[in-house]
Symmetry: C2
Subunit: 149 residues, 2 copies
């Protein structure tokens, strides 16, 4: 199984990337490394890919569980090494879920994504720590695979 993208240099630090899906993304650096801020930062793309991957899983699983969503957003915080290479060492995903959703089922959907389905999560070296905020209230993880702080 293979996936391919292309990235074409536009001068300075600016690239336009495109995948087989046909959607393109503009990528650029900040001024301190010679960029002109014409696009998203490369390391932001890793966090966005992770968010998209687990977000698609969680919405799909909750739909199958017949748990209707009124709203759903994620915040993803990546903690990076101070030294080069400044890789992510720990990534916190905050799932903000609104609606008549059972908290056990919400956690089960998150765990199924993290442990079984999410290819982006399984591609990253960092420890990934999920958090659930259900209708505005943070809900601790329960159940067999719990225990992540």
């Amino acid at each position: 199984m293979e996936m391919q993208i292309q990235a074409n240099w536009q001068g300075k630090r600016h690239f336009i990337a495109e995948g087989a899906s046909g959607h393109s993304v503009s990528i650029d650096a900040k001024a301190d490394v010679g960029g002109e801020d014409k696009g998203v930062r490369p390391m932001e793309l890793l966090l966005m890919g992770l968010a998209g991957c687990t977000g698609i899983d969680v919405t799909m699983i909750l739909e199958k569980m017949r748990q209707p969503l009124d709203g759903f957003r994620m915040e993803v915080r990546g903690i990076r090494r101070e030294e080069h290479p400044q890789a992510f060492t720990e990534i916190h995903i905050y799932y903000y879920i609104d609606g008549q959703v059972d908290e056990q089922k919400a956690w089960r959907a998150i765990r199924l994504s993290e442990e079984t389905y999410c290819s982006a999560s399984a591609s990253l070296k960092a420890d990934i720590v999920p958090h659930l905020i259900l209708n505005g209230v943070e809900v601790a993880q329960t159940g067999a695979h719990g225990g992540q702080a």
Copy 2:
């Protein structure tokens, strides 16, 4: 050191992600998992982040080495597990560099990115294999850290 992004659900499998840089990216799945192809695939974003990261490094290093580029593009091929989670196991980066660029310097720039500077590369579990195509001809890696096929 921390970096943060948000991703807001737009219904079905569609998300709009935005980072601190302020640039947003539309993310969606294919129809087979309930998506409508309104944006890039999450796993494409990981490869794009990797391409942007090493592309920014390589253009910056070659500029410092006074090696003028006429053109530069990258193809990134990610090989994935067949089973869930379908993580990347091996990623090939093809650097297509055109211009009056010394081949040793081009390889040195690529190696400096891979081994020292590229945070995206250091964040991914997959084995990353670089390839250099200089003015249309593939050039094998030479020097101390060579040996990757």
